[in-house]
C-alpha cells in the first residue's frame, strides 16, 4: 500500500553509489588532514596588520540554525573589538576565527578541534549554554583559556553547588564568564521584585526544554520561596510549541497574577506580548537579559512592550559614548548590516577587551603556547587587583573570582516610550 515501503529497486546499483562515496570520503579525509592550517584562515578571520606576531583567538557559536541570531551577534561584537584593537596598532594584535556550531554540543566540539588545528591560543565562547558545557570540558582537559560571553549556566564554569548543595560538575579552573550566571539572575530578579514591592501575585512562563530558561526559573523559585513571594501560576512551553500562548496567559490571568516573570529569550516574548494584548490581559512584565533585543525585532509593535521591566547588563540606547560608538559601528554594513547589537554582542566585545587588558597585565606574547597563556591569564583574572570596565559592567569595575563568575550588577530597566529607562530613577 505504501509507496515508501514498497519495493526498493534503485536504478543505479548500490555499489556504484558506495564506491563513489568511498572515493569522496577518502578525498575528504585527506583534505581533512591537510586543511589544518590553511583552511580555517579563509573563514571569518582577520589578521592583525601592524606586526607579524598576532594572538589567535577562536570563537564558537551558532551562526546558522534557530539560534543563529546569538552566534552572529557574538561574532560581530568580537570582530569589532578585534578590528578596533588592531587598528590602534599597539603591541598586542589579535586574529579572530569564528566557527559555527549550530547550537549543538557535537558540532561545537568539532568546531573547537578545528580551531585547535588552526592554532587557537584563547577561546572566546561558546555562545549557547549546552555546547559551552561540552566545550569547556575539552578546554579544561587541554588547559586552554576560555571566556564565554553568554554561556550562563553554572555547569559551564563548574563547581557550583545548587540550592541543595548538589554538585554536577567540578570547577573548571580555565573557564570564565562575562555574563551573569543563571541562578544569579533568577535570584536577583526575585530580590528586585520583592524589594520594590512590584507584585503580590506572580506568574512564571518559562521554556522547559531550554537550559538557560529552566536554570533561571529554578533559582527564581527557590529565592521567591525564601522571600515569601507568592507564585500563583507556573506554566511552560517548549521550542516545538512556542507559537500559541493562550493557555499559559489564561492560566496567569485566571490566577490573578499582576506580574508575569518571563525568564526566556525575546522571540517568544514578542509573541506573548502580542497575544496578551489581543486577549486584553495587561499585567506587569518582568524579564531577564534574554528580553533585551525585544525592541529591535523588525516589525514589532514596541508599544506592546511599554512598561516591561528587565534586568540586563547592556542597553543599546544608553547615552554613554562607548556604547554609542559601539552601536554605530555594529550597525555598519561591515558587521551587523543595520541590526542593533544586543547584550550578546556587547558581552563578546567586552570579552576581547578584557582579554587585551589581562594580556597586557600578564605580559603575554604571541609566541607563548596556549597552555602557558592559560596559566598566566587565570592568574591575572583571579588576582585581586585585576578589574575591567566595559559596556556591560554598568560603568563600574567588574572583577572575577576564582569560581569563574563575574561580579557585576545588572541594571534594572523599564521600557518607556520605546526606549530603556533606568528602573530606579
Amino acid at each position: 500500500m505504501s509507496s515508501l515501503t514498497g519495493k526498493f529497486n534503485p536504478v543505479v546499483s548500490r555499489r556504484s553509489v558506495v564506491a563513489g562515496l568511498a572515493g569522496l570520503g577518502a578525498a575528504g579525509i585527506i583534505a581533512g588532514c591537510s586543511n589544518g592550517d590553511d583552511a580555517a584562515s579563509e573563514g571569518s578571520s582577520s589578521a592583525g596588520s601592524a606586526s607579524g606576531a598576532t594572538i589567535k583567538i577562536g570563537g564558537i557559536g551558532p551562526t546558522t540554525g534557530a539560534a543563529a541570531i546569538y552566534g552572529n551577534a557574538v561574532m560581530n561584537g568580537a570582530q569589532i573589538a578585534v578590528d578596533e584593537i588592531n587598528a590602534e596598532g599597539g603591541d598586542i594584535q589579535f586574529e579572530l576565527n569564528f566557527q559555527d556550531d549550530e547550537n549543538d554540543a557535537e558540532k561545537s566540539v568539532n568546531a573547537y578541534n578545528n580551531l585547535k588545528d588552526w592554532g587557537m591560543q584563547i577561546l572566546v565562547g561558546t555562545v549557547t549554554t549546552t555546547p559551552c558545557v561540552a566545550v569547556s570540558a575539552e578546554t579544561n582537559a587541554d588547559n586552554m583559556f576560555q571566556i564565554t560571553p553568554s554561556g550562563s549556566s553554572t555547569d559551564v564554569i563548574g563547581g557550583q553547588p545548587d540550592a541543595e548543595g548538589n554538585i554536577s560538575t567540578p570547577r573548571k579552573e580555565n573557564v570564565f564568564q562575562m555574563c551573569f550566571t543563571d541562578p544569579n539572575q533568577g535570584a536577583a530578579s526575585a530580590q528586585y521584585i520583592s524589594e520594590q514591592g512590584l507584585a503580590t501575585k506572580i506568574a512564571v512562563i518559562y521554556n522547559n526544554a531550554d537550559t538557560y530558561s529552566t536554570g533561571i526559573y529554578q533559582s527564581f523559585m527557590s529565592e521567591a520561596n525564601t522571600l515569601g513571594l507568592e507564585v500563583v501560576s507556573e506554566t511552560t512551553f517548549t521550542d516545538d510549541s512556542a507559537t500559541d500562548f493562550s493557555v499559559q496567559l489564561n492560566d496567569a490571568k485566571n490566577a490573578g497574577a499582576d506580574l508575569v516573570f518571563l525568564p526566556i529569550y525575546y522571540t517568544p516574548i514578542s509573541l506573548i506580548l502580542t497575544q496578551a494584548d489581543q486577549m486584553g490581559y495587561a499585567p506587569k512584565w518582568f524579564g531577564v537579559d534574554g528580553m533585551d533585543g525585544l525592541l529591535t525585532v523588525e516589525g514589532f509593535d514596541t508599544s506592546l512592550a511599554e512598561g516591561c521591566m528587565l534586568l540586563t547588563p547592556f542597553v543599546a540606547t544608553a547615552e554613554d559614548e562607548a556604547t554609542q560608538a559601539f552601536v554605530e559601528t555594529y550597525k555598519s554594513d561591515e558587521y551587523g548590516k543595520g541590526e542593533t547589537p544586543n547584550q550578546f554582542a556587547a558581552d563578546a566585545y567586552d570579552c576581547v577587551y578584557a582579554l587585551r587588558q589581562a594580556i597586557e597585565t600578564a605580559g603575554i606574547t604571541a609566541d607563548m603556547d596556549a597552555s602557558s597563556i592559560c596559566d598566566a591569564l587565570v592568574e591575572t583574572f583571579t588576582s585581586a587587583d585585576f578589574s575591567f570596565t566595559g559596556l556591560t559592567t554598568a560603568g563600574e569595575a567588574a572583577t572575577w573570582s576564582d569560581t569563574g563568575e563575574i561580579s557585576k550588577q545588572p541594571m534594572g530597566m523599564v521600557i518607556q516610550d520605546g526606549v530603556y529607562m533606568p528602573l530606579d530613577a
Binding site: L4, N9, P10, I69, S241, S246, V247, D251, T267, V297
Partner: protein, 293 residues
C-alpha cells in the same frame, strides 16, 4: 466559557495546521511522496509577504497575492529540478531529496534575510469579536483562519471531484500508468499539484504569521511536522481528512496544555495520535486499502 475559549484557540491553531496539511495531503495523494520541504515553503511565503508589505509598501492583499505567486513558482521549480528526475526512483530517495530541499530553503533564507526574527504585522486589521458580554473574545485572525481553512477544503474537494484537471489528478493518484494510457499528461498534472500545494503553503504562511507573528528561517519546520502528523491522523491522501486532522490536532494540543500539563503537552498530543491510529490504522477518514494477493 474557558473551555470554549480554549477550543476556539485550538481550532484557530488547528486551522493553520489544516491548511498546511491540505498541501501535504494533495502532494502525497497524487505524487506519492512525503514533501518534507513543504513546511519551509510556508516560511518562504511568509517572508515574501513580509517583504512586500514592509519593504515595498504594498497593501496587505497584494502582499498575499505576491507570496502565493512566488510560492507557486517555487513549488514548480523545485518539482522540476529536484523531484521530477526521481519519478521512478524509490520513494525514500525522494524523501531524502525533499529533506535536502528543506535544508536548502532554510539556509538560503538565513543568508538572504538574516538570523534575527521579524515580527509579522498582521494583515488582518479587524476588531476582535466579543461574545457573552465580553467574557469570550475571539480575535479576527482566528475567525478568518478557520473560515479560510473551511473554504479551501471545500474548494479543493470540489476541484478534485468536479473539474477535468481534478479528475486527472485523481486518476494519477489511483494508477499512474493507466492514467498515462488514457491520455493524461502525468508530468503536468503532478506539476499542477505542486503549484496548488505551494500556493496553499503561502496562504498558510501568511495566516500563521498573522496569528503568531514571529518569522525566522526555521519558522516553518515544526508546523510542517505537526501538519504532517495532522495529515496522517486524518488519513493521508484524504482532503477532508487533512482538514479534520489539523483542526483536531490543534484542539488536542491546546486542551492538553490547559487541562493536563503544559510540561507534558507535546507527549500527550503524540500519545493521542498513536491511540487514534491504533484504533483506526488508516487515519480518521482514510480508506483502508485491501491488499490483493
Amino acid at each position: 466559557m474557558e473551555i470554549l475559549a480554549n477550543i476556539i484557540n485550538g481550532a484557530s491553531l488547528g486551522s493553520v495546521y489544516a491548511i498546511i496539511a491540505l498541501g501535504y495531503t494533495m502532494v502525497y495523494g497524487i505524487a506519492k511522496m512525503l514533501n518534507f520541504a513543504h513546511g519551509d515553503v510556508i516560511m518562504v511565503g511568509a517572508y515574501v509577504c513580509f517583504c512586500a508589505v514592509s519593504y515595498l509598501g504594498l497593501p496587505a492583499l497584494a502582499g498575499v497575492l505576491l507570496s502565493v505567486v512566488a510560492c507557486t513558482v517555487l513549488g514548480i521549480v523545485v518539482e522540476r529540478l529536484a523531484y521530477k528526475p526521481l519519478r521512478n526512483a524509490p520513494s525514500l530517495n525522494v524523501l531524502i531529496t525533499a529533506i535536502g530541499v528543506s535544508y536548502f530553503l532554510q539556509n538560503a533564507a538565513l543568508l538572504i534575510m538574516g538570523s534575527d526574527p521579524k515580527s509579522f504585522s498582521s494583515i488582518i486589521s479587524l476588531p476582535a469579536l466579543q461574545l457573552f458580554d465580553g467574557k469570550l473574545t475571539i480575535s479576527a485572525t482566528a475567525v478568518i483562519t478557520i473560515l479560510a481553512c473551511v473554504v479551501i477544503m471545500v474548494a479543493l474537494t470540489m476541484f478534485t471531484g468536479k473539474t477535468k484537471m481534478g479528475k486527472a489528478m485523481r486518476a494519477c493518484s489511483e494508477d499512474r500508468d493507466a492514467a498515462q494510457l488514457m491520455g493524461i499528461n502525468v508530468n503536468s498534472t503532478i506539476s499542477m499539484v505542486f503549484a496548488i500545494g505551494s500556493g496553499l503553503a503561502a496562504i498558510a504562511g501568511v495566516l500563521m504569521c498573522s496569528a503568531y507573528p514571529t518569522l525566522m528561517p526555521t519558522t516553518g519546520s515544526m508546523p510542517g511536522i505537526k501538519a504532517f502528523t495532522a495529515a496522517v491522523l486524518g488519513g493521508i491522501g484524504s482532503i477532508p481528512g487533512a482538514a479534520l486532522g489539523g483542526i483536531l490536532l490543534g484542539i488536542i494540543e491546546i486542551l492538553a496544555r490547559a487541562y493536563i500539563s503544559t510540561q507534558l503537552a507535546d507527549a500527550v498530543v503524540f500519545a493521542v495520535l498513536i491511540v487514534m491510529l491504533l484504533i483506526r490504522p488508516a487515519g480518521l477518514l482514510g480508506k483502508p486499502v485491501n491488499e490483493k494477493v
